[in-house]
């Protein structure tokens, strides 16, 4: 029996105890956004430190201005073994509306939800306690069989992911030498579907802007002034309409700088996933792809930049009618970025465009709402290829390299602050109801997640 087979067998044998350990962690109410649970957050960090110590990690709770970090180090088989930083978060979302939960969110259970499909229920089972424990349990199986790990492992668990990670950047900055590794492993993403493992290689970035256009110095009666006075809603709607041309391309100057076409082989692998416009959009009551013409919905949501108006308001919006010309009109607008698009350049180009559309007697105010570049990992790096093969072996189905429409800020921070790419592997499913009542994590996700990490660790070692 090879080492790996023995490790995988041990992971299987450990599963009942691994579930109990996860349940112990889930029972700790580590809701980071609510100050009432501050002590629980620390308790979760301490629980993790204690557990990692039993595996021979040099682990400690590290204070921050907010909830503490957990940092743990484990030597590899040799001093030259690859070094990974594993990231997860022990904090969880609030549980409101509590009345919609079938069970106490902090009293986890194993439930059979359909023939042969068992799930682990409770807040944080999927996001992210169950996911981070897949890695910890893989390490445990290794340690129990081999007495050591084949690679050097640093672990970083944060407790503020669900509240915007305010302490993360300062912590990375202050501890860069300690945390820097060859690459990061992040377990906070999902499978493609219940049978198909996935690695996320492209995460779109984001630029958020809020604009408020002011015309007259007061609200006007449209009978008295209509036709002569500037209406800020017209200015706003006209400039928003001008952000896109009739083919769906964004018209901002320089917007497509840094946007590369997706490699043909990747596009082809996406085509095999069977996500047609009909089924993707059909689920939300739509059928016609919006945005750039002539591209698949996966390309549009994973590999192409966008401009979306997320909110708009101005004038009278109550019941009935008021013939008012408003003094002000506002919109919240965001851009999803891909490739190497520069958030600051996009913001500057947007603001220059808006200013060019404001009449001389009107004005505009801008508010910045965040900006982060896209993450574009190499589709064929050695680590990604190894992980892909390991996942394909475990799930007996080729792993797919996918994009993600949204951003995971930590990945950008690792890249920017520690010069380190991330490998995003996770076992969540679309129906896990993260952030919602009745969160669950499939028992299969947990079990095969543990086995997947054992295989990936083995693959990365060679």
């Amino acid at each position: 029996m090879s080492d790996l087979s023995a490790v995988l067998d041990r992971a299987d044998q450990n599963l009942p105890a691994a579930i109990e350990r996860l349940f112990d962690l889930v029972r700790i109410k580590s809701i980071s956004t609510d100050p009432a649970f501050k002590a629980d957050c620390r308790k979760a960090a301490e629980w993790l430190v204690e557990d990692l110590k039993t595996l021979g990690f040099d682990a400690s709770v590290r204070d921050t201005a907010g909830h503490p970090m957990v940092v743990a180090h484990h030597a590899g088989a040799t001093a030259y073994a690859p070094h990974v930083l594993f990231y997860g978060h022990y904090d969880v979302q609030p549980v409101d509306p509590i009345e919609l939960w079938e069970d106490d969110p902090f009293d986890p259970k194993i439930k059979e939800i359909s023939a042969g499909r068992k799930v682990l229920t409770g807040r944080g089972t999927a996001d992210d306690k169950g996911q981070l424990m897949t890695f910890v349990e893989a390490c445990r199986a290794y340690k129990e069989i081999n007495g050591s790990l084949p690679i050097r492992v640093t672990i970083l668990f944060e407790g503020e992911e669900e509240s915007g990670s305010p302490s993360l950047k300062p912590f990375l900055e202050a501890n860069a030498d300690e945390l820097k590794a060859d690459y990061a492993l992040v377990c906070d993403t999902g499978m493609w579907d219940t049978d198909t493992p996935a690695i996320a290689a492209a995460l779109r970035g984001l630029v958020g802007e809020e604009i408020t256009i002011t015309a007259a110095d007061r609200d006007l009666h449209s009978g008295l002034y209509g036709g002569a006075a500037a209406n800020p809603i017209h200015i706003l709607t006209t400039l928003i309409a001008g952000l896109r041309d009739e083919t769906g391309r964004i018209t901002l100057e320089g917007f497509y700088e840094g946007v590369e076409e997706t490699p043909e082989n990747i596009k082809q692998s996406w085509e095999t996933l069977g996500r047609s416009a009909e089924n993707f959009l059909g689920e939300i009551g739509l059928s016609v792809p919006a945005g750039e013409k002539g591209r698949s919905v996966l390309e549009l949501t994973w590999a192409r930049p966008t401009c979306e108006v997320n909110g708009i308001w101005g004038g009278y919006t109550g019941d009935g009618f008021k013939t008012v010309i408003a003094a002000k009109a506002s919109a919240k607008i965001s851009f999803r970025l891909v490739g190497t698009q520069d958030p600051q350049k996009i913001r500057d180009s947007f603001r220059a465009y808006v200013r060019s559309k404001i009449p001389a007697d009107c004005s505009v105010e801008f508010h910045e709402h965040g900006g982060s570049p896209a993450i574009q990992l190499s589709y064929d790096s050695p680590a990604l290829t190894k992980a892909k093969n390991a996942l394909s072996d475990e799930w007996v189905k080729p792993a797919v390299v996918i994009g993600m429409g949204g951003s995971i800020p930590i990945v950008g921070d690792f890249q920017k602050m520690l010069g380190m790419d991330s490998l995003l592997v996770g076992f969540g499913l679309n129906d896990d109801r993260i952030h919602s009542p009745n969160e669950k994590y499939d028992l299969k996700s947990y079990h095969k997640g543990i086995r997947s990490w054992a295989r990936i660790i083995a693959a990365l070692a060679v």
Copy 2:
């Protein structure tokens, strides 16, 4: 001394008593929108009936489903004398916010607000009790001097003008034969300025529409769906932007049917009024005329149709940012109409345009918010010319024939239901604060208003 000179002298002599009579009427709290003042509204109607009876009118309080009407008839010098219907309203606006009033709104006073400028204060002094009493007092002076009126006069005072006149149309319909006259005199408008009398000959009509565009069947995360799912705010802003071309013209099919150019002599008279874009827009913090290019602000607001977005909303509009793609987006849009533009055709054209811009998988709902055609009175009818000359004589300054940006629905009702044009003469001033705390009516407006009607009555008789 001519008849008219004697009548004018009598009006001067009567002024102190005329003020007292107006104050008696102002003291009656005839707020039509508040059911608590239902009895006061009837009291005002009864007060007017009693007063008109003293002038020999056959006057009566006429019940409606709401507040009562006052109808009164007076014979003319001959059975063939011209017959006019004089319209005014005895109801007033609520007084909130009461704490901003310097005096009790229902305890009218004479105040000197600057050297030589006296005003009558109180709710309704200008809108419309003071204005309607100018006509009643002119009749009184005539009766006292001549024992008769030179023209046949029917009076209609309503008590629901400030609450949308729900009983007016049924009343006109039920009493058409009784109320039909050669034309109507309406005293509910204003002077051009403190020295310049004005007759309103063009009132813009209105079409109000509310649209709600629905795309997906729920709010979406812009990371997951952005770029592929339709965003109703984009659809809405694009279709709104398309309502106007770059010259400011409205692009709806057939929109300009029935829109005539204003006669050159009228445009020239408007140019003498000194209302430049700078001073008109300067008062509200603007300087650049919006809307159709190459037209004066008076033309734009009096004689040209418009399309204005009065309200717009969709998506996340609170503090901070939410990367949502909304399921719905809405706007309230109104069109001001001129000439013989047909409200129903405009509404149909608008809806057809909107439907043409809605993607196949999205939908739109329409809500109608009122529609009334424009009123365009002849700029050179005999009655208007006579009234203009009479006003010019009284104020020793040429009366101007003006447009009004807003609508006065009663004028359309008279035209449509009784086949009768209206002559709109009023003595209000821009600073009368109608509908606001500290409403007032200039003593000069009242005094010279009475004298103006005496002159107009004399002029209309010949």
